[in-house]
Structures are given as structure tokens and as C-alpha cells.
Symmetry: C2
Subunit: 476 residues, 2 copies
């Protein structure tokens, strides 16, 4: 790792490539009511949940309804070398959707059909605009479910593009492990297929995994085949409070090292519990807390739960409370999922700068506790949540977007969190992606040689740099 | 899928690119005793377990002992645009190691150190020449193990390069899921690192997964970080005979569809049982047979075994025999691992053309039974083994290499097996890779657009086409 000299990317580098009138006219002709230049629509598509607020919106928005629509849009934009920015539900935390080089936002939310459910093979094929909760509602009657759960009700296209994960990944893996096959529209406007419905393959380069996590820069995902799983026979959830974050983290480290196949294990700190209590009208004890879930046969779940309860007790855990009915569990996980918005509401008008490091499990306590100490010392309001079974945690610094000094101090904290994670053998982003915000960190983590290789691949696949340019790295 | 007109690649396309004397002299100077032009050494490095026997050997062999050696070799070859063919233990079944365009064989077997064991993180970092049994011997005292087991005692570099899997993959995944990070020497002779020791990451393009399965054509793997697992608390293995292959396959399909986390489930047909009995002096009932293994807690293993035993019984399974001691299990799995060589010995002087299709589990009976019927009708000696829990099976046609007619008929059978798998939503290769043999099949499976994209990536990373040229696809 190269020690970086200064916090990276306090502000995005804006280099508009204006769309010629001829392109806008051609898009209007081709897409009619699916095309919009209305300012409100453009503005809605020009922002996300990141802390960047000053980028001009895209020049127009096209609402694709088919792969053919996507192909035609990309071809028209390619003719004029104008950027195309794929858009799902706008839940990016890293500026993925921002039109830093101008261009057209490609809204895929109307491509929201579940195309086929192969229950007997545990696979499903969907369009990219299907969200994870929509998918789970549509397959509920089959006794199967799709586990990947990043918190937000993100589109599956967006989740594939950012290699998302979240709760459940500790047991079921991330989008990397759960995308079997894709249809992708290339920068040339061709549709290609990658992968098959077979569980494994050694047939050539792993283009599926190359597109998963490419953040819209190599192609537009227009179809996704996913693994799904039998709903576990038994599910049990629990919360447990701890006197300190260290105790909670040590419980998790032991759980993972023992190989307990826990399905979810989430850490939320006192700030998060307080915000969640206020937002969701709960009365959780305001102390560091683990939220856990166990999946399996009744005997298996009991075995896992007993093991973890013992580990928690060894680490001073108190108030092990069980949530065994679906209603109680839903209440618990809704509270967890609302943590981000609950925290935002705790400081009205704020924006959130979110860290996303992930470290080897044995280094989790080192990484996390030092980050908490620095955040405490900064006096910037913050909250902490973590998919700690994977070694992944988020510190959210709640900044006043108008206060440049506060932003810079929060970025400096973020910078220290990342530098520490890299020193410990971890990554700057466990699940949110690089986007605009972590380009310097990517360079620190991967090294110049690997980033040069990524640039070479981008250049080979998208020589005019029209697909979501300026994200992951800057080109040319 | 495009219906192919005729069996592909009955013979490899040989286009030698002779190494200039200046290169050979420079290699000799740089590598001294690590460099060999001896015919026996070259011949040993110019063949593998595939049915190709007529390709001239590489012009020389370099035994690398360090990443620096690999860098220097690649740089010298790059200067002269001479091919470099990475070599592990020579267990490829698809001609990966053959010098179809001449060049230098890069033997990595001396890079065989386990560099670090991070037991508390369940990771290990190895050099590419470490074999899977060596690794498991070296980490035995930690209570951890590396599950991927392709049968042959392959090198981990070779296993990464072909995206290998084998028994255990049904539970633990393939090399795709179990390689966390790599060091790779590029075609320019630079060493880059991909991935980290963190369990998940969204940091840029997934170069790790791009190199896994790239068959030595994009870079030379010089270091591998792998996931390892706690040895299961309880292990139980069993064999069960069935009156027909259909009954055995239907048992497996039900097992997978129920979500039973079985660790291994292998099918061997009557021909294989007979060969194994003779080779390993066993007295297994000469009927289609499943070999199974269950991993977990004692209660979990019992639960799984009871479920599968019931399913087997529903499908006319008989003689459910348990192997509960390590010695009994070793005897059983050694027999399975020897199936390939046992079958080869059943026809002295033969070579084996091996199919490797993998289909969605619900289509396994369709794919497998039709393939058996065609093989039976052909009168060519064959055997069948399968990692059937993944939908992956191998028909091995035992041909007389001098009999071109028999070879062509076996290739035609192979062709039908693949065409059927692709129609059923599967892949032409579950775990062996494309090599020389499946290039036409790759095109049928992935389509021209995807293969063109693969070629574009190869061109971007290795513009002079020096890394294992002529494998996966032909270039230029």
C-alpha cells in the first residue's frame, strides 16, 4: 500500500460533455414519452444518498422498458460520444449516479419484471429494475427467498453493479457469489450474455464477475439470473446488549472463528440505537448491541443459538432477547434498516459521509475500536453500524453540507479509517463501491499496476468512455 | 446458442513461433541450472492428461523459484514475442500445457511454499506450486482444511487458472468462491496484486475472478490467498447402490432441491465401479453408486444422513453402507479418486476424451441419461463419474489414439453431450476449462459477442499474445 498524502476527492471533478441538440432530438423521436428533459426529473436522477450535492443534473432522462430500448439509447449516445448513466432507485452512497461528465440518465426502474422462477433449480431471472423486496414478494409462494439485503430496497441491477451485500452475506455470500448469469448491453449497443444457469463453469473468462461490481462503467445490465434459497425450516433472531463495543466485537470474532453458520450478525452502536429508538418508537437499551439471526433445521438453530449465547455471556453480553415470531423479527430488522435514515434525522439538514471498510475478522476489533475513538474525539456527530460477521462496518459522519471545514474533518477521519483497514489487510469498500468518493483509496488499495489494468479493460470495452464515465477511476 | 455444424477441434492448430537463439542464450545466462533444453524434460512439459499426443514439446523449460524469476522470464520472452506456458503438475485434461505455438514452459512446481496461515481469519497464502494435499498436510495441526478437491493432486496455481472444483464443491464452492486474492505477473513482467484478505470487497473490477479461470492467458499466478475452513466436528460418509443411474440421479436431485447441505455426492457408474474394484482391490457392488459425505455437528450430520437415506430408499437405493472412521473414508475416496486412472488401465494404451458438462440440477437426469444411452450405443469403451450435486458429470471415452475413426466418433459423442447441456441451460465445462479442446463449444455457449469481448480483454492485457497463446480461443 502507498501511504496517501492527503484525503482524496473532497469534491468531484466535473467535466461536462454537452449533448448536442441533434442527440436530444433523436432521443425524443425514438423514446417519446419515455424521454424527459423536465428539470425536476433530471434533478431527481442527478443525486443519490452520497454527500455530494453540487453536481449539475444529467441533460435528460430516458425510461427504458426493454433491452432494445437500452441498446438504442446506448447506440445513439455512442454516435455522439455522450455519457450514459444507468439508474435504478438512486440509493447509491458513493455518487455513482451523478452526471459528472454530463450525459443522459438511463432509468431502468420500468424494467421490473421477474422473467422466470426456476424453483427446482433454485434460480430466478429478473430485469434490473426489480427490487429485492419485490423479488421476495413475488417468489414467496414458492418457499424460496433471495437473501442479499443491503438495507435499502435497492434495484437488483444496482446491487449487481456495485457488488452489494449487507446483512445475510455472512452466510449466503454477496452479489459476487449469487449472480449466475447476466445479459449486458455493451458500449457498442450490442446485447451479450454471460454465464449460464449451471451452478459452476470453467468456460472462458468470468465476464459475469467482471460486470458484477463494474458500477455501470463496462456495460448496462439488462437481465440477471440469481441464486435463490429454500426458506429455512427454522429461523430465530435475538438481540443482545454489551457494556462496550469491544465486548460485542469479540463475541462476533469468536462466533466466526468457530465456524458457526450464523445468518446475520449486525452491530449497532449506542448512537444508532438512540436514533432508531426515536425514529421507530422502540425502547431498546441504549448500549452497543448485536442483532443476530439463525437459519436452519430446528435442531441446528438451537445448537447455533446456544453456542453464540455462551460466547456472548463470556463477553459480558446481557439481555439476550429472542424474537421468534415473524412479526417480532420484522420489527427488529426494520429498525436496523432504518438506522441510516434515523441517524440522518437526528441532525436535520445533514448529509452523511459513510465509511465502508472491511477487514479480516481477526483485525476487526483493532479496526473498529480505533475508528470509534477517533470519531469520539472529533466532536462530529456520527453513528456506527456493521455487518460485523464479514469484518465490514460503517461509520456515518453526519456533516453540515455547508460547513466545508466539518466536511474536510470528516473526510480526514474517513481517510484514517481506510488507511488503517488497508494496513490490516482489508479493503476500502466492502459493499458500497468506489463511485466518486473512493478513487484515491482504490489506488492505495490495489496499487497503480492493478488500476492501470482496470483502465486497460475499460478502454478495451468502452473506448469512447461513454458508460458512467468518471466513476471507479478517471480515464484518459 | 448457435447450432454448431460439426465436431470442433479434432486436432489442435499448431503454429510454432520459434524462439531465437538470443533468447535461449539469455535464459540460460539468467537461469543457469533452472533452465533446461533436455528433450526428456521438454517432452514431460509438453503433454498432459488430454487426448492430444502429437504437439511438439516446448523449446525449453524454466524452473521458477520466485516471483522475480517469473518476472524476468516473462520480460525476456516478451522482448522476443515468444510464448510462455505456465506449468504446475501437468494434470490438465484439456491440452492447456501444450506448446501449440512453441515457446518456453514455465514450471512453477518449485514455488511450493505455504507463505502464511492465518488460522484466526480462515485464510492461507501459498505459492502456486503447492498442491492441494501438500496444503492440507501443512495446515492439519490448525484444525482447518482446504476443501477443493478435483481428484488429481493438482497445483493450486493450476486449480486457480482453470477455476477447478470437484468433490466438496457442492457445499464449499469452487476456486471462484475460494480464492480471495492473487499476485499475478502480467504480460509486461510486472507483478500486481488483486483482492485482499477481507471476505468481501466492492473495490473496483474483480481482477481476482478475471484471473481465476483465465488458463494462463492473462497473467502468471505467483501467489494465492485462499479461504480455509474449520474441520467439521463430525464427518460421515456412505455408499449406496441403485438399480439404475436414473434412480441414483433422482436421489441427488431431491437432495439438492431440499437444500440438504451435503458435502460430497458423487455418482460412479457400473463401468467405473468395475474398474475401481480391479484397480483398488475392492469388492463394491457392480451397480450405479452414490458416494456421499456429510459434514457438520453430530446432530446436523445425523439429520442430513437420515434425510438422504430416506430419499435413497424412495428411489430404490440398497446397501446404504457407512464409513465412519477416517481410514474407511480415505479408502472410499481414494477409490473414487483413482477412478480415472483405473478406467485408463482397463484399456491398455488408450487415451481418454472427457466430457465436462454441468447443467441446472433439474435437468441432470435428462442430460445424463441421454448421454449414457448414446455412449452405450457407440460400442466405444467409456466410464461415467459425476459431481452430481452440482449437475456436473464426466463421460470418459477410452479411445485408441491411433484409431482416427474411433477418435472422431468419440468427439461426435462429446459434441452431442455438450449440445444437449447447452440446450438445457448448462455449460460445456464445469471445471476442466476450455484449453484446446472446447474452443468451438465456448463459442456455442457464450456467443460471438461474449467471445469477442474476451478477446478484447486478452488483447488489452497481452497485446503480443505471449501468455499461453492458442488456449481458450485463438487470437488475431
Amino acid at each position: 500500500m502507498n501511504a496517501p498524502a492527503a484525503p482524496h476527492h473532497l469534491a468531484p471533478d466535473i467535466k461536462p460533455r454537452p449533448a448536442p441538440a441533434a442527440l436530444l432530438a433523436a432521443l425524443k423521436r425514438r423514446f417519446g414519452a419515455q424521454f424527459s428533459e423536465a428539470l425536476a426529473v433530471r434533478e431527481q436522477h442527478g443525486r443519490d444518498e452520497s454527500a455530494f450535492t453540487t453536481v449539475p443534473p444529467p441533460e435528460a432522462v430516458v425510461f427504458a422498458e426493454s433491452t432494445q430500448d437500452v441498446r438504442d439509447l446506448v447506440r445513439l449516445c455512442a454516435e455522439h460520444r455522450v455519457p450514459v448513466i444507468p439508474y435504478g432507485v438512486g440509493s447509491s452512497l458513493e455518487g455513482h449516479l451523478l452526471a459528472v461528465q454530463g450525459g443522459i440518465s438511463l432509468d431502468l426502474s420500468r424494467m421490473n419484471r421477474v422473467l422466470s422462477v426456476n424453483a427446482e433449480d433454485l434460480t430466478v431471472t429478473v430485469q434490473p429494475g426489480v427490487t429485492r423486496t419485490q423479488l421476495n414478494n413475488e417468489i414467496k409462494s414458492t418457499g424460496l427467498f433471495f437473501p442479499i439485503d443491503p438495507g435499502a430496497d435497492a434495484s437488483l441491477g444496482g446491487m449487481a453493479a456495485t457488488r452489494a451485500s449487507g446483512t445475510n452475506a455472512v452466510r449466503y455470500g454477496t452479489m459476487r457469489e449469487n449472480v449466475l448469469a447476466l445479459e449486458v448491453v455493451t458500449a457498442q449497443g450490442e446485447a451479450i450474455r454471460t454465464g449460464t444457469r449451471a451452478r459452476k463453469s470453467s468456460a472462458g473468462y468470468d465476464l459475469t464477475r467482471l460486470f458484477v461490481g463494474s458500477e455501470g462503467t463496462l456495460g448496462v445490465i439488462t437481465e440477471i439470473t440469481l441464486r435463490i434459497y429454500p426458506l429455512p425450516e427454522a429461523v430465530s433472531a435475538a438481540v443482545c446488549s454489551f457494556p462496550s463495543i469491544a465486548d460485542a466485537v469479540n463475541t462476533v470474532i469468536s462466533t466466526i472463528q468457530l465456524g458457526v453458520p450464523i445468518a446475520r450478525v449486525e452491530l449497532i452502536d449506542t448512537h444508532s440505537v438512540r436514533a432508531v429508538n426515536r425514529h421507530s418508537k422502540l425502547s431498546l437499551r441504549e448500549a452497543p448491541m448485536l442483532l443476530m439471526e439463525f437459519h436452519g433445521s430446528p435442531a441446528g438453530v438451537k445448537e447455533q443459538a446456544e453456542t453464540v449465547q455462551q460466547l456472548a455471556s463470556d463477553n459480558h453480553g446481557a439481555d439476550f432477547e429472542w424474537a421468534d415470531t415473524p412479526e417480532e423479527r420484522t420489527r427488529l430488522w426494520t429498525a436496523r434498516h432504518n438506522a441510516f435514515f434515523a441517524a440522518l434525522q437526528s441532525r436535520p439538514g445533514c448529509r452523511c459521509i459513510t465509511t465502508d471498510t472491511c477487514v479480516p475478522i481477526s483485525r476487526l476489533a483493532d479496526a473498529l475500536l480505533a475508528s470509534v475513538e477517533e470519531a469520539d474525539a472529533s466532536a462530529i456527530p456520527y453513528f456506527l453500524v456493521g455487518h460485523v460477521g464479514d469484518g465490514n462496518f460503517h461509520v456515518g459522519y453526519l456533516i453540515d453540507p455547508a460547513d466545508e471545514d466539518e466536511r474536510a474533518r470528516a473526510e480526514a477521519l474517513n481517510h484514517r479509517v481506510v488507511a488503517r483497514a488497508l494496513e490490516l489487510g482489508g479493503t476500502c469498500t466492502g459493499e458500497h463501491g468506489v463511485g466518486l468518493h473512493k478513487q484515491g483509496f482504490l489506488l492505495d488499495e490495489a496499487g497503480a499496476g492493478a488500476v492501470t489494468m482496470m483502465r486497460g479493460i475499460k478502454q478495451a470495452l468502452d473506448p469512447d468512455n461513454i458508460l458512467n464515465p468518471g466513476k471507479v477511476f478517471t480515464q484518459g
